[in-house]
Symmetry: C2
Subunit: 85 residues, 2 copies
């Protein structure tokens, strides 16, 4: 078994309302950041897990996203990186 560090991006699906992103966008405009066109707010999750291989670690974290970490109705997830520790 090797320890892997897997990081995941979970983002609101395209076309789904992102009220948090809109709120941040408004706040940035109020602070004077006039160039801001759009903001999306998602989650960044880092999981440290033991697995036999890098592929196994990635598959396991994918299963975690599907079962717990992401809401597939409104969110997309993407494994950003998988690294042995």
């Amino acid at each position: 078994m090797t320890a892997f560090r897997v990081s995941v991006h979970i983002t609101p699906r395209r076309g789904i309302l992102d009220p948090q992103g809109k709120a941040v966008e408004g706040a940035l405009h109020s602070l004077g950041f006039a160039g801001v066109k759009e903001v999306h707010v998602g989650r960044y999750i880092v999981v440290e897990t033991d697995a036999e291989t890098q592929n196994a670690a990635e598959a396991e974290v994918k299963a975690m996203c599907e079962r717990l970490l992401a809401n597939p109705v409104i969110e997309d997830f993407e494994i950003e990186s998988v690294a042995a520790r």
Copy 2:
């Protein structure tokens, strides 16, 4: 002016209690993911902004993090990528 897409990771500082991460860790164990050693939950923010250069876009988003997006007392931020659109 060019449109840039800048993405940022905001994570709880090392050594600061991460109750959300601990809760997710416990839930993953309950679901049978026994290999999970540690989980950290942060935010992933994508800002689309107009700027003269890539460096200017990065500096602007860094200022946004310092003034609004991250809480410097308990969070670290890191510019993940800056890309022209």
